[in-house]
Symmetry: C2
């Protein structure tokens, strides 16, 4: 059939893609804060953007272009270029024109930003950053670092897909995102590159299908940002493609990055999967799973490593979907604490459940016992660090 192997190389794993990150002085202490993705060939593009009505300037700029191909994506951190009106768009145009003057062969360059809202881009700094770019450099890790904001580690991943006939294509990606994740790709940026022979429409179908199951199933704090972006670029250089293999690898990539964002959630110490089953339908299961991953009471109980199943039951009940006390079952991994009306939370089970909660990663199972609806959401705990990070983010 086909073989999918994890490889190094991030957004440069696919043939023909270049990327690097530089320090343009947006962040202090010479930290990297600007990145690019470049390709000599024009690429097809598929994308998903935030559902926030206050769309940041780079997203409005992108959307205004309509259907197009590009070979250059410029990304900056520290400034979101959001709530900047027409001036925000003009700033992008000025910066991208500058890049085109300085570097040959940039077609329909686009920009993506993340950081503080409501402040104009520091154009001179960005231009100085562009001057530092050497386009034919493949340093994907530097790029992944440059797009970080409150992230504590950079996020990249890549796969090589080998088909039966020996042909090979690659998909690679980088992402940033730590706070404001959920439920609609909040302050996350994700750039995916591939040399598979796939066009924009087909890529868009994949993104539309997989985004709800990955990025939109991940929650750090239930907020949705002005800048969320997933971009998928194909240069078709491998000359080969396999739908099922592509989808499978892309799903793994998006799920991995979504989980890494949650794991890196501001102040998070745990990555928790909420596996909801037995709901009236998948939509209701999704509602419950997301209510659980967003609940402050559940999140603080996780932080306290307290198997407080009552808060889980209460959150299920509050989520608005059909649920019944006598049909509900709750387990922490394989430790069932409440089964269809029967309270199994004795001392022995409490100790076992508490042990599960000490893990860095675990699954909470919640079966509504009604029908076959199921969904999996990904969340984290909320502790002192979250407050600390967010109480003085701007300063």
């Amino acid at each position: 059939m086909y073989k999918i192997e994890k490889i190094q190389g991030g957004v440069c794993a696919a043939k023909g893609f270049y990327s690097n990150g530089v320090s343009a002085g947006l962040k202090p202490n010479a930290q990297k804060d600007m990145a690019f993705i470049y390709c000599e060939e024009l690429c097809d593009i598929a994308s998903k953007f935030t559902t926030n009505k206050m769309q940041a300037a780079p997203i409005r700029h992108f959307k205004a272009k309509g259907v197009f191909q590009t070979n250059f994506v410029l990304i900056n951190s520290k400034n979101a270029n959001a709530m900047t009106g027409k001036a925000g768009i003009e700033d992008i145009e000025e910066i991208l024109s500058f890049a085109q003057e300085l570097h040959q062969n940039l077609h329909n360059p686009v920009m993506s930003s993340t950081g503080v809202i409501g402040v104009r881009l520091p154009k001179e700094k960005l231009k100085n950053g562009i001057k530092l770019f050497e386009l034919k450099t493949a340093n994907p890790t530097a790029a992944a670092e440059a797009i970080m904001t409150t992230d504590t580690f950079s996020k990249e991943i890549a796969y090589r897909i080998t088909l039966d006939d020996g042909s090979i294509f690659h998909i690679g990606a980088m992402a940033k995102g730590a706070g404001m994740i959920n439920p609609a790709m909040a302050t996350m940026l994700c750039f995916i590159t591939t040399d598979a022979d796939i066009d924009a429409k087909e890529m868009q179908r994949h993104l539309d299908k997989l985004t709800p199951l990955t990025f939109n199933a991940a929650s750090v704090d239930g907020d949705t940002s002005t800048n969320d972006t997933v971009m998928l670029l194909s240069n078709k250089k491998s000359g080969t493609y396999h739908k099922e293999a592509f989808e499978k690898a892309l799903y793994e990539i998006m799920l991995h990055l979504a989980k890494m964002m949650v794991k890196d959630g501001e102040g998070a110490t745990k990555l928790v999967t909420y596996r909801v089953t037995g709901a009236r339908n998948d939509e209701e299961a999704e509602k419950v799973a997301k209510a659980l991953s967003d609940s402050l009471l559940v999140k603080t109980a996780l932080y306290g490593e307290d198997p407080n199943w009552g808060r889980i039951a209460s959150t299920v009940g509050a989520s608005g979907v059909e649920a019944h006390e006598e049909k509900l079952t709750i387990s922490f991994e394989d430790v069932c604490v409440y089964k269809q009306g029967e309270n199994l939370f004795d001392e022995a089970n409490e100790a076992k459940a508490a042990k599960v909660m000490q893990r860095d990663e675990f699954t909470i199972y919640c079966d509504l016992g009604i029908a076959d609806g199921s969904f999996e959401a990904y969340g984290c705990d909320l502790g002192y660090e979250y407050v600390k990070i967010n109480a003085d983010y701007r300063t």
Copy 2:
């Protein structure tokens, strides 16, 4: 017309109502943990309960009775009697029967509980508490203290209403609630008594109208509990009533208690009013106001006393209602920081806005500039204390 005056007396301000709180050993250190409200006459009842599907046993017990009158409400803290199934109902019946055996003249007694979920009521302790009750005692403050959980101060209020003809009636109330407030009366209990000559139907109309504007407009952490209850009892002893005056006084009582709950929100240091205007309609204004009061990013910015208006704009955009960057206006009290696309957040304005945020109470104004929809919601900040309280609530 009529005169409304604030008076002392809480739930005993209305003629004929008795109330007290005792220590039954549910809480440590001889703290009060059981309360009653008693009246020699039978009272009409109106009520509002949680929308949580996992309704606690006392609520299921109350609802199963259908229409009835009562003269005795028993309230305990520390244990919610939720997720306790049929046994939870049987426990209530046993306890209330015990109360009826011990004390003469209790008709259709009802119970209300708040505290930890999923643990059976300690019946013997509760019975011992009932033995301590002396029904004809008027100690409303002791009752208000007994129903507290994580509350840091007790909440009571009362009004005397004097009509033109010299006739007088009273409305008094007590409430508890500190965490899990919103958007549907989460873990709050509120008991209101009146000697006005008003029947159950008329009281219910008042509660239905005023609850959305008061308790359901208040948010501490966006969670909705299994036990939320508002109960309004009338013994008609004053023989008088005035619809407008009653509604006005009741609104003041409910709004005051709702604000006190938010002010006492777990770890909260500020009470913030979100006044949203200019929305497409009132429903959309409500959505925005509640999104603001629930946003973790806004709440942590409040805690940090950081006038981060970008997070407000982003939350408006994420709320799902019609909103436009170029029509939005945001003010902290009278300090306008963003006006219809124009960023007014210069150094002087930032300093002024930061000063507003240092207050204990203030209003954030958010005008969407579209139509006439408006709503006011009440929220608090979220700081380290919230995490501390909720990370080890059970222990």
